[in-house]
Symmetry: C2
Subunit: 498 residues, 2 copies
Amino acid sequence: MATTSAYTRLAARFRKAGQIGDALSVLHWDMATMMPAGGAEARAEQVATLKALAHELIAAPEMPDLLAAAEGETLGPWERANLAEMRRDWVHSAALPADLVEALARAESACEMVWREARPAADFQMVLPSLSNLLGLVRQVAAAKAEALGVSAYDALLDQYEPQGRAAEIDGVFADLEAFLPGFLARALEHQAGRPAPRLPDGPFPAATQKALGIEFMTTLGFDFAHGRLDTSHHPFCGGIPDDVRITTRFDEADFTSALLGVLHETGHALYDFGLPAEPWRSQPVGKARGMVIHESQSLLIEMQACRSAEFQRWAAPRLKAAFGGDGPEWEAENLYRQGVRVKPGFIRVNADEVTYPAHVIIRYRLERALIEGRMDLADLPDAWAEGYRRLLGLGVPDHRQGCLQDIHWFGGAWGYFPTYTLGAMAAAQFFDAARRADPDLLPAIGEGDFAPLLAWLRPNVHAKASSISTREILVAATGRPLDAEVFKAHLERRYLG
Amino acid sequence: MATTSAYTRLAARFRKAGQIGDALSVLHWDMATMMPAGGAEARAEQVATLKALAHELIAAPEMPDLLAAAEGETLGPWERANLAEMRRDWVHSAALPADLVEALARAESACEMVWREARPAADFQMVLPSLSNLLGLVRQVAAAKAEALGVSAYDALLDQYEPQGRAAEIDGVFADLEAFLPGFLARALEHQAGRPAPRLPDGPFPAATQKALGIEFMTTLGFDFAHGRLDTSHHPFCGGIPDDVRITTRFDEADFTSALLGVLHETGHALYDFGLPAEPWRSQPVGKARGMVIHESQSLLIEMQACRSAEFQRWAAPRLKAAFGGDGPEWEAENLYRQGVRVKPGFIRVNADEVTYPAHVIIRYRLERALIEGRMDLADLPDAWAEGYRRLLGLGVPDHRQGCLQDIHWFGGAWGYFPTYTLGAMAAAQFFDAARRADPDLLPAIGEGDFAPLLAWLRPNVHAKASSISTREILVAATGRPLDAEVFKAHLERRYLG
């Protein structure tokens, strides 16, 4: 009997851990869409147990020997890349003791449940004790991973969402944007004031009609309903697994745009998941999405670059008008386009336009870094938040609901995640620019509701790469250069000053 | 530091295995209600992996020593009962090698997926290869567990669903029913012919109205929507966990009774789950439902005993009439009652009346025993099925869809399950009889839509016992005697000849 190679044994182990992760992904979707409130405690226990089992598999004592043995074996390039990802996963897992993994999972679930009540009540004090407990554990995680990775505490957290992402680079990018955006915003608002104000069509827009339209648009974009669903949740997200992608949105019967833009955004995430390589890589670390910068680039490429274009609005406008039985000039593509690219500073990140969005992210990034690095007290968060909005957007935050309680991230344990939104927006501009250069008919095709040329470019250049190369390498191979704020700025100038 | 007792260590281990089982239960519900078809293969892998992990925990080599050590410790009565259930679980788990557990899980998923296509196509040959593969594995399971338990192969399978259930007892019960029922059926049909035929109200009955009514009826019965949901699936079932009970039904817009009776039946299961003891027992073997005989007794007690009563129909009739905007004598309680207790031999088990239902079960029981014991070839199943229906119900089966493909059980790996339906029907009659004797106001209260007196009896006498005593002991403690066909027969005589 032939000896099973170390690589083969590792692949079987990661496959098993990956299947636990897949089950967790369905359980998480269920929690956000279907689970009655009374199921929360039991679900938190299930999740903690499954996370501990997956951790046990990857952090096992025999892993260093297995990894070292496999690294000495003859492997193909994807196997080699897979092995590098395995080592990466192992470093992250082995850095944490099992009891910290379980305690963190429980604290995340508990804090998220309190936040669900504290947010509508705009009551930061209500959630402060559980958030404080959670932050304490997150800081333990950061310290342990920082030591294992040889990076700072914040970078250790960021690395979970964006492998090799580093605060030093983000600082440079954000400083650049911070210098550029205030002046640009003033010019964009001035330019906008010189055009007729868009008029949002009058509702109500029945949720069922919005959902049917969402499904029609998803189908047009290439969403495969044999391998996915659209449901409703308080916060839109894309979950599930590549064979069974679950996206969600929420319906506002007074304004159809929020649900629809949510659907388009999440469909961008879904298309990336659908396009990840098939077996034998699907169940392996190398077959997973590269990280949150690329993931967010795909959702923003679809939502912001493709679907807020004048071309797409020309295709969408008559369909929207027909679906809602609309009438009048507010249903013209030109009006809907102007509605879609309207710039207006506001309190809520998820409603922000492209121009002001980075300010929301920069505020959060600086606050979470200060909290992780122990430079700020959690009790001071609301004041510091208000100060950030005053300084960067000139707005006085009216309450905590529209302030520091608005996002689920910190309350669910996702610290070090926010910067990926803006890096993703920049990458989206860069990918879309490269795709249009490669195929000048791509945008006109989108104007006909034909996303095949866009997908034909994204599949090999982004989706199929999965984690076989780094974010930077994907960008360089696909666009000729690493992440570059100039393309994003040029996009903003074209759209908002053009 | 105090030494952790063997019992405490076992409890922690079973808690963990139980949480994996809870996660599996949600995944199973999702598969039947939400999952797109394209997610089936990946889901099958997740399920196989989680089942293997749970098996690994319970079949672990250190378990015999742990169990023996705990059996020597000083324990309270529920702890002692819990330990007995732990040993029982261990015997069942340790009997099977890990690779058989995984192979079985995969074969079950695969066969069920093929069955989903073969059933509407009425094509037994289509599913024969995967069913044959599955049956081969089930027979391996039966043989391994038979040896471990010291019982026959069939009893070993039955024991999974009904602990201590034995074919020898079932043979006696079924022989008795088989002697009683044909004559009784003839008398019931004759009696029925002497009364006006019930008239089913004319539809259509919108699914949304049926669902709203289902929710109203569930609420009346005591279903707690903070801890559960109602959804749609091809086969009604009760899944989830006691803190988050997921029941399903299916809607026929031409006939509201099938969905509603499904809802009432599954609510009976749900009430049992809700009534199981809280922590520390909820997560332990002793806190689980006793077995499928008691479980089915609770669904049939609600559906058949309580809700097909003339009393309940008097409460329900005006609500049904109002909900569907009905008019005319067919909405009278008397007519709806006669509709609910109408006897009519047919091909489909789940649509069968109380009188002919046991025949459906007896046919399946004899066939599955012959197949498990190797006395019959799987290819001969359709003919043997037809022969059974000819002999016991005098019906010629028109096609395999209405024949041996109708039930999911065998195709999903549930062999040795069917007899529990009829044993459950008998236990239901016995429990309801005892409850009414204990509280003569119980049935009148149901006529007012008040299920509190019934629940007040079921909670301590059945639900709260969980697995602390055997099925037989629950019956004796609650009704004064073990399972007794005479009570069931008396019920049938009262309802169908009275």
